[in-house]
Amino acid sequence: MKKNAYIIACFVLLYAPIIILMVFSFNSLESTGVFGGFSLKWYESILQNEKAKEALINSLIIAVSSSLVATVIGTFAAIGISRLKNKFIKSSVMTVTNIPMVNPEIVTAVSMAFLFMGTLSTLKFIKSDDTLDMISLLIAHTTFGLPYVILSVLPKIKQMDKTQTEAALDLGCKPTQAFFKVELPQLLPGVLTGLIMAFTMSFDDFVISYFVRPKSTVQTLPLLIYSMTGKGTVTPDMYALSTFMIIAIFLLLVLANLAGSREEIQAKRQARKLKKQQEAKK
């Protein structure tokens, strides 16, 4: 009984502030202490806010493209890394891969800011600052998404049934065919997990986007939320925007889980079929 009470108390502490924030996004008053009644006016104001629309579009463009690039590069990288025979090289590659995850975000952010300050200014043919900001954000987001892809694909490679690849090759598949028809489908769950992780990390990132281009005019949703909290007064339309972001992320998670459980169900079905076949043979 004590145990359950403790669990419940912890969850109340974890969720109360967020729920209160969401409730205040429906406040008819411009207050964070008194609830004056239900109203959707803050949602109306955020829907008419051009900046918010722009930030949402930027966030989506960056999250979609950086997670796709990270997934392609990362999946192939994992395949190569798993084949590395030299232990020293392998562990050095893994150490470098882990750097963006182990380092404090602010240090990764500062290091990238230096890179873009130094290199991008030499690319004279890109004239618009907005394009430069966008490219920098894309590169930065791809970079911190990569370790998540690699680390979710690597274990799937270990679990992969190598005899199937050999069978495919023996039966006349070319290595590329064997890869796309036999190996990739087996890796797919890991690849998808990596993709979703990279997407959410990018959609949610604040610190790195904030530092990467000091004078950037390209805003993402977290950057916009930050500028709305500013120093001092916060208006409830920020809560409305936050509520929207929370719901968007939750929907993504539900989708990811549905995809996951579907795979599980299919795997179970296949296992059952195999069992039946074996029993029939006996």
Partner: protein
């Protein structure tokens, strides 16, 4: 087959190039800026003189992060233990519930704490009914509350995952051999879950010690942390990239050293535990 294997090595080439340009070179830039002056001349350790200037900032950051980590451990360990003792189906749901807040942007989470603590905020308007009013915002207390709230799930998850893998038979053996439940906890469960505690502690300590938003939003002018100093050096009008790089470099070293120390603990204890079991 050999050709196949070669192709696969080639497949990871784009990543190696990417990692060199966008992970290693940027760190090289930090080193370059940390060891040169504003004109790009080698400055030796001159830049590191500012550490003295920021000594109180560093110690305050470490202190607040340390307190927040300890509080997270004190709340998180019992929570992980309690969850690991519920039914398997309940466990799945509870762990999902622990993970959900991790996906909410930390700016939003920090702000939800601000709603509670603000002068005209919810807590004070509730307390106002009893004629009490507390100045909670812009204090170090508020910063610690924010840190604990933001990063508690990062403490619970690794501890929980170690606890669920723990062999129940060992606990049964301990109780059979005369341990009471508290002894079983301190002498069997806790030592065996050390690896989870270590990774939880690192996962909470690192973002806490390097944060700048939590201290700005909840700590006001009273709490100036390393993160704030780096932000000021990189983004404000009085930006000084060499000093910003130096501070980042020192922060990085601090994290690497503390991670190594923490890892050292687990390695030792794991081998001891393994030896003990055998």
């Amino acid at each position: 087959m050999k050709k196949n294997s070669f192709m696969k090595q080639l497949a990871s080439m784009p990543y190696y190039v990417w990692a060199i340009i966008f992970i290693i070179v940027p760190i090289g830039y930090v080193l370059y800026y940390a060891f040169t002056d504003s004109e790009g001349k080698f400055a030796g350790l001159d830049n590191f003189a500012i550490i003295e200037h920021y000594a109180s900032t560093f110690s305050l950051s470490i202190m607040l992060a340390f307190i927040a980590t300890v509080v997270c451990l004190l709340i998180g360990y019992p929570l992980a233990l309690a969850i690991s003792r519920t039914k398997p189906t309940t466990q799945k749901i509870l762990i999902m519930l622990v993970m959900l807040p991790m996906w909410i942007n930390f700016i939003i989470r920090t702000d939800s704490i601000a709603i509670l603590l603000e002068k005209n905020g919810l807590l004070n308007s509730l307390l106002g009914n009893f004629g009490v009013s507390l100045e909670l915002m812009d204090t170090r207390f508020a910063v610690i509350v924010g840190m604990v709230y933001d990063f508690l799930p990062y403490m619970v998850l690794p501890i929980y995952s170690v606890l669920t893998k723990l062999d129940v038979k060992l606990v049964e053996a301990a109780t059979d051999l005369g341990c009471n439940s508290i002894q079983a906890l301190t002498k069997v469960i806790m030592p065996l879950s050390l690896a989870g505690v270590v990774s939880g502690v690192t996962m909470v300590f690192v973002p806490c010690v390097s944060t700048f938003y939590i201290s700005q939003r909840l700590g006001g002018a009273n709490t100036y942390l390393i993160g704030d100093a780096i932000e000021a050096r990189m983004l404000s009008i009085s930006a000084d990239y060499n000093k910003g790089a130096t501070l980042s470099f020192v922060l990085m070293i601090l994290i690497v050293v503390s991670t190594l120390i923490m890892n050292h603990y687990t390695d030792d204890d794991e081998s001891v535990a393994a030896g003990g079991i055998m």
